[in-house]
Symmetry: C2
Subunit: 282 residues, 2 copies
């Protein structure tokens, strides 16, 4: 039961926000959806979740369109900056309405999260701080019974200890009942270990859709004297480079060159740096 995003375009008057986006999202995997500010991530998430109408293209779940289709739409959930409830509503009532709408709700997990995050469920949403608003929305996202959960900037406003706690709850619920999570975040370093695959959106297009392990196994930085390094990488796909005098660091993707002189040092490129190199703007 894959989620297929097919040839999605989204045009605004003066801008092509999404340009022929085609991705297949598989069941029971954790994805990272990465992109620079303004790349189109939130637009894509809104289209997939029927909150915004695409200019063309379709989103199919098990072959059935999601767009304007209440039955299949019940299988996807989007947590984003938007608040779906009146801000005067109490947290516990937000939970109850989510249960009514989606058919069930993981109350055990919700209670555990309320306790660990020290959030009182009698509080009205508007009285919560920025961080605690995110926490209330995160609890709902992890407790609804949907197969595809999209999290747009889930840790916005969360302190470091609360971010860590959320990642732990995510792993726990994913292991207990596998489903698909698609997480859009700018804090790439701290989430790398959770992700199985990443989709990188750059200027409205899919730039990379790949398993994280593949990216990490095929991305390197070669550093050393300029002449040695440039000779070594002459057939490589270069992501970016930094120079300092006669010294150079070149970031490459693909195979590590077979032979290179021993004045070159090689280090792996982490996902955050891979992303930064790939989406650098000239």
């Amino acid at each position: 039961m894959s989620l297929e995003i097919k040839n999605i375009d989204k045009n605004y008057k003066d801008k092509k926000a999404l340009d022929n986006i085609t991705i297949t999202i598989e069941p029971n995997k954790i994805y990272g959806l990465l992109g620079r500010n303004g790349a189109g991530k939130s637009t894509l998430l809104n289209v997939i979740n029927n909150r915004s109408v695409p200019s063309s293209g379709d989103v199919l779940l098990d072959g059935n369109t999601l767009l304007d289709n209440e039955v299949t739409l019940n299988q996807v959930y989007l947590m984003s900056e938007d608040n779906l409830f009146p801000s005067t509503m109490k947290v516990k009532d937000m939970f109850k309405i989510s249960e009514q709408f989606y058919g069930s709700f993981d109350w055990d997990l919700a209670e555990k999260m309320l306790e660990e995050f020290e959030l009182t469920k009698k509080t009205t949403f508007k009285k919560l701080s920025t961080g605690y608003r995110s926490i209330a929305k995160l609890i709902i996202a992890l407790c609804v019974p949907c197969d595809y959960i999209f999290l747009d900037e889930p840790v916005l406003g969360l302190d470091a200890a609360h971010r860590e706690l959320f990642y732990e709850f995510l792993i726990e619920t994913y292991e207990t009942s596998p489903r698909t999570f698609i997480i859009s975040t700018h804090l790439i370093e701290e989430i790398t270990n959770l992700l199985e695959s990443v989709i990188i959106i750059d200027k409205g297009k899919v730039s990379v859709a790949e398993d994280v392990s593949t990216i990490l196994e095929t991305s390197f930085t070669l550093s050393g004297p300029k002449t040695s390094v440039l000779a070594a990488v002459k057939d490589s796909e270069i992501l970016g480079q930094e120079e300092l005098g006669d010294f150079i660091s070149v970031h490459i993707t693909g195979q590590l060159p077979d032979n290179f002189s021993n004045d070159i040092s090689v280090s792996p490129l982490n996902l955050q740096n891979y992303f930064v190199q790939l989406t650098k703007r000239k």
Copy 2:
């Protein structure tokens, strides 16, 4: 011309949000205002900037109260999640109104920031992505002529490259025209080098108000066999500790013990870890 926050209390029906907060904020320094989610940071910033009325206490600028005083209020600026303008307004009109209100506006810096962040000033605010909304508000905060600029979560939703760019602009404008910045953020590691002092708020109270250099010079982690380490730190102020079998790491603040056995390794504690240890909840 210091900003004095004197005995500020803020009580809600069921909660003491701020408990006798007294701080002096000096001119021409960059402060970090740190605290766990829900500690009271935003409440404090709203009180100082007259957006929320304290239950008791006062805020004085050069001896004159700030609260409900339009003349002195013109010297402080708060950038926060709140949007002060109608969301249908264009970015350039937000700049113009800020100029009218505060008397002048650094248009050179604004144009430079628009260009480097690739933000079009003809765009209406509501059409901007989360990250670009932060960017528009940040430009205003750096371009108004106020002596005290409060930034509540300034990099919310910004990608790593844009966060770096913002920090560079902040240093540049601070060096060109020194004034006071008070920055509240959960991304402590990446901002440590910018800060001269920190104020840590914990459960509505001031827990630490200290120069960063002093904190870094007097915070250590001692690691090694449990018996050796516990003997070494017996007179120290302990922030926290982690144990693994017979091995222990103890985080201390204050003087490094004079004599300790050579099976102990000592490392400095960075600001992020200092904060985490200090504000851990039981």
